[in-house]
Symmetry: C2
């Protein structure tokens, strides 16, 4: 049995996550039981939702348990299979967590086709983040041609897809991101119409200039003051998809939102959502995303940390916005 | 021509409305032009939305203009008609404002049937407030049997109907109101399952006890700290109808909401709405409300101020929650 390195959830963060909240351990790789599969993970996905799991309660999923392997999406190669559905060498996507090897029920794995896109894409644009963008924008917010769509964390794994889908739908896409390099990427490579640097200190004025006809759709990934500012510019009958509030996850006291009256005045529809509630839409979303990706209409960027031991630092950096594109850990 | 007494919008309030914001004037009653009708108003409706109109901007409707008659719903008798649709003696509902006589285009008036209910009901349970409750609860929030519905300002014109409709739909109805007498009325006469006195100082604990299975529908009339507390108890996939934020209308700085994360965590759908956006539903809502009223399944209470000159004081009192039931002014 090969040695399996794992990162355990060692202690609950109070406020910001620190490296002390994790512990690296080694143990023999497990053996699959009937209908199970042993996978060697090639890629680990790091996503903001994981921060929610580290809290005792208050997040949508059950809090993670101390002493267990950190949860996380993975792509890897089947090493040993006790299921007729998979054979050695198959590449699969699953949720095996922060470890180099993992055993999973066969039903919880999906085979991927690396002729369509590299394996890592199944953790990004063709995986949970891409489908999140698709469902939250196209199914929930339903932008119409000519409308203005604003998305925060615009250079991130979800936000980058949201804006590109908005463009495909004929909308004006306005991103919000932190710093000039990210903004240049969002307007240059991703093709958004505008991108606002929230660190520049003039968010309201900049947003107003970038959305001169107001905001019809807000795809919210960040929350806090950025969201409060966006609220001031929402149009009548506009929609807000609340996908994430990453600015709030490490605060012990949440930011208090002042402009909620806009919801009443403008008859805004605000909908919180989690992509796992809409598994029914997953195949259609993935097929459309793959089609646009092949057609060159969707672009992405990855931010890759090397080796399992780099995962905690990379995760903390992502929560602080230091990554640029989809945050991954390359395990081999 | 009879003398017409009118209350004009004299100055914009800064924070709380005061009597100085109004001015009583007298002038000859106007004459109707072609297709117009002269109405002698019997009843004037006072409603929270009027406070929004007194602000320069920021409300859903255009701000009221200084020097003009205050806007408001009215019921009255046709005195003179230049329209084939109405004759003298007809009772009509319209929006003739804070005055004893008014001229209106015939198309903006609706004849009422006082054999179904007293004329004043067409400003309350069979009028805008009743239809607001119907649309906001039944069309927007769509409570299912067995769910828990919480409504703030529960003894008011809208809230009292919301809770009774929730009971008709087989839900648990929980009201929030200010003071023991209102709460006793809400549970006693209106038949809510529980009513919480937000002035008692233990809103969260009381609400939790009254909604032991959490909250599936919140019909929000008040906003501020009450709404922030309700947010903490929303269930997964729950709905919030934002109908009013009366606690906020007289503040120069809005209350800042801390618990918006609940929208994400619980995948809450929040929808701001104004009943005038849904004129299509008005006939069906009114017919159903009239049916339940005749069947004795809906009850109401009116709070009546006497004479046009009493309107400003009654309006200010309503904004402070001093009324008990639908606030009206009896003009003759």
């Amino acid at each position: 049995m090969p040695v399996n390195r794992q990162i355990l959830f060692a202690s609950r963060p109070k406020g910001w996550v620190t490296e002390d909240n994790f512990r690296l351990v080694e143990s023999p790789a497990p053996s699959p039981a009937e209908r199970q599969v042993l996978v060697r993970n090639h890629w680990l996905s790091l996503d903001p939702y994981m921060r929610g799991r580290m809290d005792e309660a208050g997040s949508y999923a059950k809090g993670a348990e101390l002493g267990q392997v950190m949860v996380g999406g993975t792509v890897g190669e089947v090493i040993e299979s006790k299921s007729p559905r998979f054979g050695p060498g198959d590449m699969v996507v699953g949720a095996l967590g922060w470890q180099e090897y993992g055993v999973s029920d066969a039903g919880a794995l999906v085979k991927i086709d690396t002729s369509i896109a590299p394996a890592s894409c199944y953790l990004g644009i063709l995986g949970m983040p891409g489908v999140t963008a698709w469902v939250g924008l196209l199914d929930i917010a339903q932008p119409k041609e000519g409308e203005t769509v604003v998305v925060s964390a615009a250079s991130g794994a979800v936000g980058s897809v949201v804006g590109q889908l908005a463009k495909i739908r004929g909308c004006r896409a306005v991103g919000i991101a932190g710093g000039a390099p990210k903004c240049a990427y969002v307007t240059g490579e991703l093709g958004f119409d505008a991108c606002i640097d929230y660190k520049a200190g003039s968010l309201y004025a900049d947003l107003r200039a970038a959305a001169p006809r107001g905001i019809d759709v807000c795809f919210e990934n960040v929350g806090g003051e950025i969201f409060d500012t966006v609220l001031q510019l929402m149009n009548p009958f506009s929609r807000i998809t609340v996908c994430g509030l990453v600015s709030q996850y490490n605060l012990t006291e949440p930011y208090a939102v002042k402009n909620l009256r806009s919801v009443l005045v403008n008859r805004v529809r605000m909908q919180g959502f989690i992509v796992s509630d809409r598994l029914d839409l997953w195949p259609r979303a993935k097929a459309e995303l793959a089609g646009w990706l092949k057609a060159g209409r969707l672009r992405y960027r990855e931010c890759v940390a090397q080796g399992l031991e780099a995962a905690p630092t990379a995760f903390i950096g992502m929560l602080r916005g230091w990554n640029f594109g989809k945050q991954l850990v390359k395990l081999i």
